[in-house]
Symmetry: C2
Subunit: 422 residues, 2 copies
């Protein structure tokens, strides 16, 4: 690098961001994607190669075309911890610098038992046991259900948490920065970084499983709202006169008709299954019975699918997105429930609002929130100039600027769970 | 001003913007509101005073406090034309540099007759007849109903327009820049600049009159969407099983239940008024009869108010705004229809989504879209550096940079209308 050239944070940020989103990019493609001029892109690439943050390799191309050099993030340049607090299992992952999961840990959530925050601490310890990787962990990202109060404490009914100071607790135990993002944001941002919403400015992500919510990306950013509870469509009174009683105490809510537990409930009611025998039925069982021609299962899915389609129709008319991504339990019902949703959307929405709109199934699968949480940690580290610089080196001395000392290892398995490392 | 200081466009923009929004500000208040440091604010104020764009006066204060100097825009420094194409009358205004309307013109829209674009040209001519003011007209802002196609042509059912190239037509006749904004945007932006959404980042504006729409301000900006049709809640199937037939051909739409013509229709149906006699009934008549205890009128308003409240409940849960502003015909029914809307919102929305939320009636009145259109023209002129500089002087030579020649006067009143100048 020429003496006297100062690398702008923005150049580094843009190169790291584009290489996290896309792999095997040439110098020209990096310039084109970031908008950096050739000199700035070259300086940034050289700086990051010198520090071991990037790797470069020659890609042999087909005969007659010249070899091209492609750049990638060095997958071992740093690690992130992703935590997903939604669903019936709490999930933890250690992801490498390119976002691939290299170690995971899951803990079943006990039904109707408040979650002990020490389970979260323990899970993070589990995925950070490897001493070499642990030294290079940069940050923790947490995808949470529910909402935050003004002091950043978590209120989450399904975890039994009423104002749990999770971030403060994690910060007393671990030396890494901790970032939180709501589950709906995690999904839409993961899709924006890695999935069907790449390159989109306006996108929606429908989660339909235990609860129902909408992740909203507007103008390239997740919708923030006044106090971080946007996307709460689960309690839209989508069939205002329906008798279905919701967890919230009201009737007619979308969740009371179309959430997975309520799909099971309606099916069991139609079939006369007594309450005590319903625990064994899962939503995938209802999907399967509908596939086999069970009329009760088909009727329940018809009602749920139409309610979901009507809700999406409303969101599409209001927000005019470019893409709608269907996730959660809908992923497992592409053949049996999704067609009903799509048909209802087409029938209920003005044609002009559907112009140019794509509706797709999420391809990020069950890991979407884990990947979203880890990519949150990556993104947040890019935003802070000091942290950004600490990411751009493998040298522990240079990294110490952000106090990334390794915590005291503590490998006692205090709580049950399941560890898979690759 | 010290030699060698270059006034940054951003300083001028911020000072002009804050003085358009608020009046009688001291030097300190301008610094505080804009975030400019004392030196930058002083340079910008001096520059604008020298060119006649601002005026300064001493304000005598109560005994014991020292006199303070306050700044204002020079109301005659420039003029804007606002056009409102929504409603049963097309409305035109000439506003001065502080946004006050100094001349207006209205043309009734003939029911079910396509609007001749020459009516718009003619209306703009009418409010720009005064030769002194005409020389200082800076731009035209148009608030439009309906939507724009990809080539910027207007599609508006109530005007009978299918891809009308209005901007191109106005640009061939007038020498001023022409800016378009959808009616919903005009309202929410006018409220953000001048009304109940001042200082807010997330706000909704419900228009309920001939049609129903929602103006959406998110993160300080009007929602844009994929191709400029967001806020289209009029065709939400808010009562999906209701038999009411909408103009769009579907049933159950919010508009079919709660737009003003449909309030009248339901009332007439309940009372058995034959179709040919319904034209004489206005929505304000239904309001008045409900006030007098007419049970049919009360029932219709109950149904319309609940549908509007349910729709707002959905929008609040999804977008988590700080303020919801009620406009259109609701302004005239604060006592009789608004309480039903509010009660339904409270009943249908999760309490957490209502925390911190304010719901108010628009105080900008019927002129909201005219003022919104004129303020659009002001805002757009600020955005362009060349136009910004042309706004900052009364010197015609300096202004010529943006080719603001006066058009040839043409005062023949080709079409009927009503002119009021102050």
């Amino acid at each position: 690098m020429k003496a006297g050239i100062k690398i702008a944070d923005q150049w580094l940020r843009q190169v790291l961001e584009i290489l996290y989103r896309k792999r095997d990019l040439s110098r020209g493609e990096i310039g084109e994607s970031t908008g950096l001029n050739a000199a700035s892109a070259s300086y940034a690439l050289r700086y990051l190669l010198d520090r071991g943050t990037l790797v470069k390799r020659a890609e042999t191309q087909s005969a007659g075309r010249r070899r091209r050099e492609v750049f990638n993030l060095n997958s071992e340049a740093g690690y992130f911890i992703g935590v997903d607090l939604e669903g019936d299992r709490i999930r933890f992952a250690l992801t490498n610098f390119v976002g691939d999961i290299c170690c995971r840990w899951e803990v079943p959530l006990e039904f109707r038992q408040p979650l002990d925050p020490r389970v979260v601490v323990d899970g993070i310890r589990k995925v950070s046991l490897d001493p070499i990787r642990r030294d290079r962990i940069l940050a923790i990202g947490v995808s949470y259900p529910g909402l935050l109060d003004v002091e950043g404490r978590l209120i989450a009914v399904n975890l039994g948490w009423n104002r749990c100071p999770l971030v403060q607790e994690l910060r007393t135990v671990f030396p890494w920065p901790v970032f939180l993002e709501s589950d709906k944001h995690s999904c839409i941002v993961a899709e924006n970084w890695l999935g069907a919403a790449q390159g989109r400015r306006n996108a929606l992500f429908l989660i339909a499983e235990g609860g129902i919510g909408l992740g909203v990306l507007l103008d390239g950013r997740p919708l923030s709202g006044l106090h971080a509870v946007p996307g709460e469509i689960g309690h839209w009174k989508i069939l205002p006169d329906a008798p279905d009683l919701c967890n919230c105490g009201a009737t007619g809510c979308l969740e009371a008709i179309a959430s997975s537990p309520n799909v099971v409930r309606q099916y069991a009611e139609l079939c006369g299954v007594p309450k005590e025998e319903r625990a064994g039925i899962r939503v995938v069982d209802v999907f399967e019975r509908a596939r086999q021609g069970d009329a009760a299962a088909a009727a329940v899915l018809q009602r749920a699918g139409r309610a979901l389609g009507l809700a999406l129709s409303h969101a599409i008319a209001l927000l005019n997105p470019e893409v709608v991504i269907l996730g959660g339990d809908l992923i497992g019902a592409e053949d049996i429930l999704v067609p009903i949703v799509l048909s209802e959307i087409r029938q209920r929405t003005l044609p002009v609002s559907l112009e140019g709109l794509k509706i797709v199934i999420s391809s990020l699968g069950l890991d979407i929130r884990l990947k979203g949480a880890a990519s949150l940690a990556f993104r947040k580290m890019l935003e802070d100039p000091l942290r950004l610089r600490s990411m751009c080196t493998l040298d522990p001395a240079e990294r110490s600027a952000t106090a990334l000392q390794s915590p005291r290892p503590d490998s006692e398995a205090a709580l049950p769970g399941e560890l898979v490392c690759s």
